[in-house]
């Protein structure tokens, strides 16, 4: 019961953390580009404003998809905080991602359609990586339970450094950052306007934005599993990871999906398999 209440509190705090993270991200990105940048609280202003806009509904599927996306993302975060099963968490997360695609496919806009197709390809790229990472964790701990990870004495990073890099690929895709911002991205200067998000507006866009914050926190939470032994180490790992993501975003051009599939699946899977073999041998 106590874990459940703690998890609920964690769930409530997640959007706050996610929003602040997005704000810091935008500020740092601006500074990297020699700009002054928006206030740190900017993402909250954006979401509040979107909540206050008049809703424009294209069809009910789209709205339903938005709700399911947010709910499943929140549920995944809740499962994470309850230190539940990694595989269950993975499936819940996938449901959210699938419904994001369903929402985009349900509208007639060609931008959303192409965006949905690309989102599917992105899922094809990052989901095997996440699964392999989970397999690695289960090989190291003996089970798919997050609780068992916390029971370990040594940080996972020491035994699975290459899987962490593979998770980094997934993180870049999930964060919608260059070079993988091909289906939707936050700065909208792209060939698909905002891809899967094109046809959403007002409160529903705000929902998707909040869902995205959940996703980011969840993936960062998975990253944090790699150094669970000390809070300082965990925070340092996350800060370094996120800073690297922002840097990569600013020094890369956007790539195309064939390149993404080749690169992510090729390099990512080779790295992971190598790491799995290493785990198996030791």
């Amino acid at each position: 019961m106590l874990t459940f209440i703690a998890a609920l509190i964690g769930l409530a705090l997640t959007p706050v953390v996610g929003g602040l993270l997005a704000g810091v991200d935008r500020r740092v990105t601006a500074r990297l580009q020699s700009r002054f940048g928006p206030p740190i609280l900017q993402p909250f202003y954006d979401v509040l404003k979107l909540l206050g806009k008049a809703p424009m509904v294209v069809n009910s599927w789209q709205v339903m998809s938005a709700y399911i996306y947010v709910l499943s993302s929140a549920l995944a975060v809740l499962l994470f905080f309850m230190q539940g099963d990694l595989l269950l968490l993975f499936f819940v997360m996938t449901i959210g991602a699938v419904f994001q695609v369903v929402g985009a496919l349900s509208v007639p806009s060609p931008y959303a359609q192409v965006g949905a197709q690309r989102e599917l390809l992105q899922m094809l790229a990052y989901e095997p990586l996440i699964i392999v990472v989970f397999v690695g964790i289960s090989m190291a701990t003996g089970s798919f339970k997050i609780a068992d990870v916390y029971a370990m004495e040594k940080p996972l990073l020491l035994s699975m450094p290459f899987l962490f890099i593979a998770l980094g690929y997934a993180l870049t895709i999930k964060l919608r950052k260059s070079p993988f911002d091909i289906s939707a991205c936050h700065h909208a200067h792209q060939e698909l306007v905002r891809g899967v998000l094109t046809e959403y507006s007002g409160p529903h866009l705000a929902l998707l934005e909040i869902g995205h914050w959940f996703d980011v926190v969840l993936i960062l939470g998975l990253c944090s599993l790699f150094w669970h032994t000390s809070i300082v180490g965990m925070v340092a790992l996350l800060v370094v990871t996120y800073a690297a993501e922002i840097l990569i975003d600013n020094i890369c051009a956007r790539m195309t999906w064939p390149w993404m599939l080749k690169n992510v699946l090729g390099v990512g899977l080779v790295l992971s398999v190598f790491n799995l073999l290493w785990l198996y041998v030791s």
Binding site: R26, A30, Q33, S34, R35, F36, G37, P38, P39, Q42, F44, Y45, D46, V47, L48, K49, L50, L51, G52, K53, A54, P55, M56, H187, A188, H189, V193, R194, L197, T198, E199, Y200, S201, G202, L205
Partner: protein
């Protein structure tokens, strides 16, 4: 409820997402609008993002004269924007038609087709003037929400 309302209003004033529509401009004002987004002027300080999608936007920046073909597009974009919204007409062409008022294919300023909240004069309007225009538009929005007074028209100062 009052608190949430307050927050939403604050969000409205702090996060005006713009969509820029080039409505037959000579590119002079367009590149100045783009220049506003770039490091030297950086309107993201005010929470402004160029979203490129009318469904996400709160403010419509229109540059250039309206002609018979793009007036439908302009109207369409305006209709796609969810309320509350504001329109800023930029440059001599956007406000009145400028030098092209008398051309055969020109309808005139943006206000011939959609209601305009702020007029930014200049040919082309400087980025400074465009920033002033957005600030004035926010004042107009504020006045419409009942939170402040309409900005005054200063003819000679």
């Amino acid at each position: 409820m009052g608190l949430l309302e307050n927050w939403i209003n604050k969000g409205r004033l702090k996060s005006p997402w713009v969509v820029h529509f080039d409505c037959g401009s000579c590119n002079g004002c367009d590149i100045e609008v783009l220049a506003c987004l770039t490091p030297v002027f950086d309107v993201e300080r005010f929470g402004i993002i160029n979203v490129g999608n009318p469904k996400h936007a709160d403010v419509l920046l229109v540059t250039g004269t309206v002609n018979h073909r793009n007036k439908k597009v302009l109207k369409n974009i305006y209709d796609q924007m969810p309320d509350p919204k504001a329109v800023i007409a930029i440059g001599a062409c956007g406000t009145s038609g400028g030098v092209f008022r008398e051309c055969y294919n020109v309808v005139g300023g943006v206000d011939q087709v959609i209601p305009v909240d702020v007029y930014v004069p200049g040919c082309p309007a400087k980025p400074d003037a465009i920033i002033d225009g957005v600030v004035t538009a926010l004042d107009v929005v504020k006045a419409k929400l009942g939170l402040g007074e309409m900005p005054k028209v200063t003819v000679i100062d």
